[in-house]
Amino acid sequence: MEYLFHIFIIAGIYYILALSLNLIVGYTGLPSLGHAAFYCIGAYTSSLLALRFGVSPWIGLLAGAIFAAVLGLLIGAPSLRLKGDYLALATFGFGVIVYQIALNWVSFTRGPMGLPGIPGYSLFGFDLSQLWVFLILVVILSIACFFIINRIVNSPFGRVLRAVRDDEIAAKSLGKDTIKYKLLVFVIGAFFAGIAGSLYAHYITFIDPSSFTVMESVAILLMVIFGGMASLSGSLVGAVVLIFVPEILRFIGLPSSIAAQVRQMLYGAILVAFMLWRPQGIFGKYRFK
């Protein structure tokens, strides 16, 4: 049971990541391969604040999200002038840079040794790090993220995002400042990824750069594609299925030393299969052009 709680908590965190990436990729049509960078910033910001300055994880949650959003602005401002494949490559590059900083700035992040002993959440003196309590916290936060992003995509603001996705040049001809919209979306997506990062850090209590590689960005993107672009319920299915499937590998007796590699191969195979046979994903309405 504990194990199942753990899996659901991880799936919940990835749901927040997939939701926020879906806003960027699925609704606005910006191919981003750097989502793990924002996840990383959220996790490191709130962990370092807690470990170095004793800041409450709740404030860390907000600080992580804000720092990630600021990074989103810094990454977005130069790269969002690029289109399609070039944007994907630029975000990929930023993802690598953030990972390398986390890995190599040893005096600050402790590099590959990671940050152990990150405190868990507590509320009015109650410890929230019990699994089922934390699961409730994650569920509440992911539902909140769902409602916010759902409201965004169904508003006139969200309509402009889809217009940018379908034809940016036409959107400009209707007076839309498309760069501003793309930047805002990048910042909002980064903000929510920062929340996911902070949640993850205070749940696992130990983080190291290996959780935030570019492969992680690909995994989040795969959840979005699998569930369906521009479908928020699709992202839930994508996150849950792609977190659960590799766990099944464990039950069929795969040694844990190769489980991680098999997980990545499996993700690769799913990605290829979906691109070939169902590019719009399970619930998706929109496909890559």
């Binding site: 409201r151 965004i152 508003s155 006139p156 603001f157 969200g158 309509r159 402009v160 889809r162 217009a163 996705r165 379908d166 034809d167 040049i169 036409a170 959107a171 400009k172 001809s173 209707l174 007076g175 839309k176 400042d177 498309t178 805002l184 309405k285 929109y286």
Partner: protein, 266 residues
Amino acid sequence: MPILDVYNLSKSFDGVKAVDGFSFALEKGQIVALVGPNGAGKTTAFNIITGYLESDQGKVSINIHRAKRIITGCAPYKIARLGIARTFQYMRLFSQMTVLENLLLASAKRKHEELSSVFFSPKSIKQIEKENLGRAEHYLDFVGLTEKRDSLAENLSHGQRKLLSLARALCLEPNILLLDEPTAGVFLETKEKIAGFFETLGSQGKTILFIEHDMHFIMNIADRVIVMSEGKKLCEGTSIEVAENPAVIEAYLGKKLDQSYEKYSN
């Protein structure tokens, strides 16, 4: 004072002059056709005027509501906000959105599309959306696409897409309309329908510049014709003056269209 004044535009691509010292002016309420052979620089001129291309030299200014403004070098979205709407040769609809959504996006007001309006939408915002819906439905009816309201734009026929792109530009309620081949590849009936719209729009005092190849259509509609060839203005005048101009016949119309003109005048 002309409502749109284009002066001495030039633009080269890799040393080839696409537009070369091109000047013209539109008076308010005029319907003017821009014609010329393929590669004459018509669309390039459109793209410069609407901000999609930077010109090497020259100046574009507008004079709307008695305020003169130079718009050379402005971003396309800013030019659109000044009351200049355009369509594209290849329509550029929002293909994965419904016909209605395509029109709702064309709104001169923008406050409802701000991020803050996602979470705080007071009555004024709801009022804008109501107005937008009313206007969208009006123009849907105007171009006769009411039945297609909830279809995805990508599922429309070619002619319907042309009509939708026209309706979308009209929803912006612009002062100046630049239409890039509004009737290209459409069925004769649709073409007549579009001709009807032009008359209505002209009577409403809209200024229209449109790129067109069909001389019959032009003769029925246009107050004035500008002929472009190799980036330059070859001549300008009423459709009859232009059709009789020997330079135009040589560069563009050729004998075939000369005959068709006679057919028209009989």
